[in-house]
Amino acid sequence: MVSSMDRTLGVSATQPEVKVRVRNLNVYYGQNHAIRDASLDVEKHRVTALIGPSGCGKTTFLRAINRMHDLTPSAKVTGCIEIDGVDVYSRDVDPIVMRRHVGMVFQRPNPFPMSIFENVAYGLRVNGERSRDRIADVAENSLRRAVLWDEVKDRLFESGAALSGGQQQRLCVARVLALRPDVILMDEPASALDPIATVKIEELIAQLREDYTVVIVTHSMAQAGRVSDRTAFFLDGMIVEVGPTNQIFTRPKDKRTEDYITGRFG
């Protein structure tokens, strides 16, 4: 344990701060018990990968963090998810306000049916930003951060749907960055993309680590190995093992993790 004295002395560099703390999370879809008693600490300014076979609950887990299950009437969530010590499921938290601080990038690029610029500006405007100059500034910065600016700067007012899949996905990242979230959740962000677009997204994720806390669900173990600092292995709705990515991949403690890593199932 780290005492408060240690923290003030800067020991937090070796003992990273926990940004998202999940305790005893259970998610049910009707009778289906999709997440069973999962607990996880997501460290600040780190990329945490959630891996596991299809249907193991990693996406369900991810979507519990920003309360996307609120939309599904049959879904029930119990347990506790804290972001910076605040339980996102508590009565005092407005999910709409909370989601502004927890961005999400989806499996398939989902640009809004509007121009490239509007896609990025829209979130700002809806959240009360009135200054045109400021919106333009933030939009440009976000597009630059998402490594998309050079490709779209001459056609900002064309439809976002006209971009290639990889560009659309980076546009979706820019859209999220514009709101300066604390945490970015990514649900297999490269699964619908070709290899070159995948590389670009992965480079982008690596850069995001500096300012954001990223949780990424991925099917590809190679991708988890390339982009993540820590990895959690899911199986049948449970978290089997969590640890530094290189340790999970080279010296897994659990037999099931080892079986999965070495490709014996999934």
Binding site: N66, M68, L71, P73, I96, V97, M98, R99, R100, H101, V102, G103, M104, F106, Q107, R108, N110, F112, P113, M114, Y122, G123, V126, N127, S159, A161, C172, R175, V176, L179, L185
Partner: protein
Amino acid sequence: MIAGDRLGSSRRVAGLAGVVLTGFCSALAAGLLILLLGYVVVQGWSAINPSFITQLPHPVGVSGGGVANGIVGTVIVVGLATLISVPIGVLTGLYLAVYGRGIAAELVRFLAEVLSGVPSIAIGLFAYTILVKPFAHFSALSAAFAFAVLMLPLMIRTSEEAVRGVPTSIREGALALGLPDYGGVMHVVLPAARPLIVTGLLLSIARVTGETAPLLFTAFGSQFWEVNPTNPMAVLALQIFTYAISPYDDWHRQAWGGALLLILAVLVLNIGARIALAGRTKKF
């Protein structure tokens, strides 16, 4: 073996008969439509000239004259009906698509389905009872109301399907960005559904443009220029009816001309609907 075996002859005959029969019926259907369109064009073409489109009807016995007031009346009545039915239809469809679970939504869907089967003359009678009789005055507005009721079921259904067709991921994207759910739906989902909604709207307009029965006791018809919707008004479909049952050859000719105009209008609306659809496929 694959090469050696052949299908039994009875099965081959049945297959061939199927092809012939379905093909024959398709040709028959297409042929009837072409015949109908051709007949209207042949009959109506001679009636259509600049004065037919720009002049008022002439009194019986005076040759010439046109249906200009009916064209304008059609635009006014259908336009008013659109103004009434679009907000109600689109928002109902939106509600059903996004929040439409449970008994209340099922009831709305069921009622819309029933409504789409109600004969237009019954709807006209209803409009007559609540909007004409109490005021003792025929009006274009009452016709617009009847048309709006006729348009509603189709508007509701196409809007619901259009909104359902928008990928959930777009709605979730808006939600994840911290938009209140209704905000995401109104600003993001609805625009994405717009091409299909416009298609549905154009088809509903095409559907009512040729409706005549409800007009008999609502718009009633008029020989004069009339743009005030609280007055009786000439409507093209109604003029066709009046002219067609008249004993005068000149009016018969004009009835065919009016029919041709209506068919052309519906054709344009249908082509517009296809273009709107094509716009959609480009977007997603």
